[in-house]
């Protein structure tokens, strides 16, 4: 029996369908991310779980109870908003205490729980400050403490890290994940940042145009995307348009331009259009030709510390290839190179390459 269950949930605004027949089951203690481009309905879904929006159709269950039309203040869920939505006229302490006051927790216990909650996010020294005197990262922690202090059955995170700079965001991802596992709180994260979803979640729901496109664990999502949309959205990849020449069990040989290559992927039939996904890190560059390689020429390269990212012109078109930095001299623009891959690194998905 799943802890949070969305059954055929649909939300329409006038003629626009924001969420279309969405069903998700989430286990207790699980960390699930709703990932998708802006306008895919992920935030609307979160708001329906929170009770801030009512579904047009469908049901939402929490711990066996139907909460579809329950008021948000009756649900007791913890939410961290994108803007943090801290109360600017209250101190950090008062912000965190608010939810407990609403629950009529008596003063002594309240103070104790507020203190413990602030310690959890390492903000106990700033209890008397006002939000405007805090940095972005600190505000984020206050919002988290405020959501967690009420010991919610479910924690909802609406793009909580999008306003932080890159370094801080990575730190917070790890911290948030550790805290979530410590507390064992069921968590639903809404994000458009695939790296965030991959790094923190137990499972990811990739959404597009109001629908769940694929629901899987991060590694599966990355390695075995079912559609070109997912493979393009989750991680970096090279998408090539091809035609199936010989379908096999769980794979096929395909032709891309003049080049023939084989890869893995379900649901393929002879002669069908196929999208070939070649992850940059699954490709290897060398100066010499080997079996199963094609020649190319380096047209650009950028250094990213632990790896280089090259742009290579080849018979397959322009490919992005990433190479780990092993301290050897890099290729430079104009160098002739050979690109290698193995069959397991070639992912095949039925259909045309999506635009954009």
């Amino acid at each position: 029996m799943s802890f949070v269950r969305l059954e055929n949930v649909t939300k329409r605004f006038d003629s626009f369908t924001a969420v279309d027949d969405l069903s998700i089951s989430i286990e207790k203690g699980e960390f699930v991310s709703l990932l998708g481009p802006s306008g895919c309905g992920k935030t609307t879904t979160l708001q329906m779980i929170a009770g801030l929006q009512e579904p047009t159709a469908g049901r939402i269950h929490l711990d066996g109870e139907d909460i579809t039309y329950k008021k948000p203040n009756q649900r007791g869920l913890g939410i961290v908003f994108q803007s943090y939505a801290l109360f600017p006229h209250m101190t950090v302490e008062e912000n965190v205490s608010f939810g407990l006051e609403m629950r009529r927790v008596d003063r002594g216990e309240r103070e104790q729980r507020v203190r413990r909650s602030l310690e959890q996010v390492q903000l106990d020294s700033l209890a008397k400050r006002y939000p405007k005197d805090l940095s972005g990262g600190q505000r984020q922690r206050v919002a988290l403490a405020r959501a967690l202090v009420i010991q919610p059955p479910v924690l909802l995170l609406d793009e909580p890290l999008s306003n932080l700079d890159a370094k801080l965001r990575e730190d917070m991802q790890l911290e948030l994940r550790v805290l979530q596992q410590q507390l064992g709180v069921t968590t639903i994260l809404v994000t458009h940042d695939q790296a965030e979803a991959l790094s923190m979640s137990d499972r990811i729901v990739v959404m597009n145009e109001g629908r769940a496109v694929q629901i899987d664990a991060p590694l599966t999502m990355y390695e075995r995307p079912e559609t070109a949309f997912v493979s393009n959205f989750v991680g970096k990849t090279n998408l090539l348009q091809g035609v199936v020449t010989a379908a096999e069990q769980d794979g096929a040989t395909v032709r891309v331009g003049e080049q023939s290559l084989s890869g893995e992927g379900p649901g393929l039939s002879d002669g069908a259009a196929v999208t070939v996904s070649l992850r940059p890190e699954k490709l290897r560059l060398s100066a010499q030709a080997e079996d199963q390689s094609i020649p190319g020429q380096v047209s650009a390269g950028i250094f990213l510390g632990n790896h280089w990212l090259y742009q290579i012109d080849s018979a397959l078109g322009t490919l992005l290839v990433s190479q780990a930095n092993r301290g050897t001299p890099p290729f430079v623009r104009g160098d002739p190179v050979h690109i290698h891959w193995v069959r397991e690194g070639v992912r095949l998905m039925p259909g045309e390459v999506p635009r954009g």
Partner: protein, 289 residues
């Protein structure tokens, strides 16, 4: 440009036209009024003596007639301010939640009073408030009152008319602070277990308080120095400071006393406003920028 002086003096040069404008059109008349208030008036000859004496001020301070007028003026100002806050703040909040085209339409309705000449608007109220006016007739028709009533020359009538014209200032002021309000704070409070009323009281109201307070300042200052509305609705029976000064100037021709009344009003207004402002700033500077 560097030839005109050091960079430090440039702001002064740039603001010079404005400063000259204010100095001649505001500073000079204010100064002559201040001087005038220390002159004396000879009732026998109707002449103004240019002797410097505090007599006019002593008269205002000692005469209970003036106490009543000042008391009435600031009492009405407080009442109007309070009513404007009670009406204007919810009005602004509701307006901010409306969608277009209703939002634009109602904003125009609220700002309407400001677009009409003060005399026309006040005479309109006089028509409504009189014993044969729409309010009296309406109440009689509904059977709420048996005799015609007139709100003309009453504090009630004066307050109604003043609130009507001053509420837009409160709405605009609260509106400005509502623009800064993060709507998600309301959602946050809701999800933390607050009901609608608690959200308004604990989350929305404190955040728009600076707007209410600065709106109050504007409304108070404008009511305390209002002239046209009190003079038409209040008439001679309910004099306020501004109408009293006017009468001293134009009926009694005692310009020095009129000037002294005007100066006292100005000083009282400035004291009330600055001390209020300081109190508000002390309270809110640490919370809002």
């Amino acid at each position: 440009m560097a030839e005109t002086g050091s960079p430090g003096s440039r702001p002064y040069w740039l603001s010079a036209p404005g400063l000259v404008f204010f100095a001649t059109l505001l500073g000079v008349p204010l100064f002559t009024t201040l001087m005038l208030s220390f002159y004396s008036f000879d009732y026998a000859t109707g002449g103004i003596q240019t002797d410097l004496t505090p007599a006019n001020y002593l008269e205002i301070v000692q005469d209970s007639y003036f106490h009543r007028i000042f008391g009435r003026t600031f009492g009405v100002a407080l009442l109007v301010t309070l009513i404007c806050a009670l009406i204007g703040a919810p009005e602004a909040y509701i307006l901010a939640r409306m969608r277009n085209p209703w939002k634009s339409l109602f904003l125009l309705v609220i700002l309407g009073p400001l677009l009409i000449s003060v005399i026309v608007r006040t005479l309109g109220w006089a028509l409504l408030l009189g014993s044969k006016g729409a309010i009296s007739e309406g109440l009689q028709m509904l059977g709420i009152i048996s005799e015609p009533i007139s709100l003309m020359f009453t504090i009630t009538g004066m307050v109604i008319a003043l609130v009507h014209v001053l509420v837009p200032f409160m709405v605009l002021s609260v509106w400005a602070s509502l623009q800064k309000l993060d709507l998600q704070t309301e959602d946050a409070a809701l999800t933390l277990g607050a009901n609608r009323f608690t959200v308004l009281r604990r989350v929305v109201l404190p955040q728009i308080m600076p707007g209410i307070l600065s709106g109050s300042l504007i409304v108070f200052a404008l009511t305390a120095s209002a002239f046209a509305t009190p003079s038409i609705i209040g008439g001679r029976r309910l004099k306020v400071v501004a109408t009293t000064a006017y009468d001293e100037y134009l009926s009694t021709l005692n310009w020095p006393l009129g000037a002294a009344i005007a100066v006292v009003l100005l000083v009282a207004n400035v004291i009330a406003i600055t001390s209020y402002n300081r109190m508000v700033e002390r309270r809110y500077a640490k919370i809002f920028e």
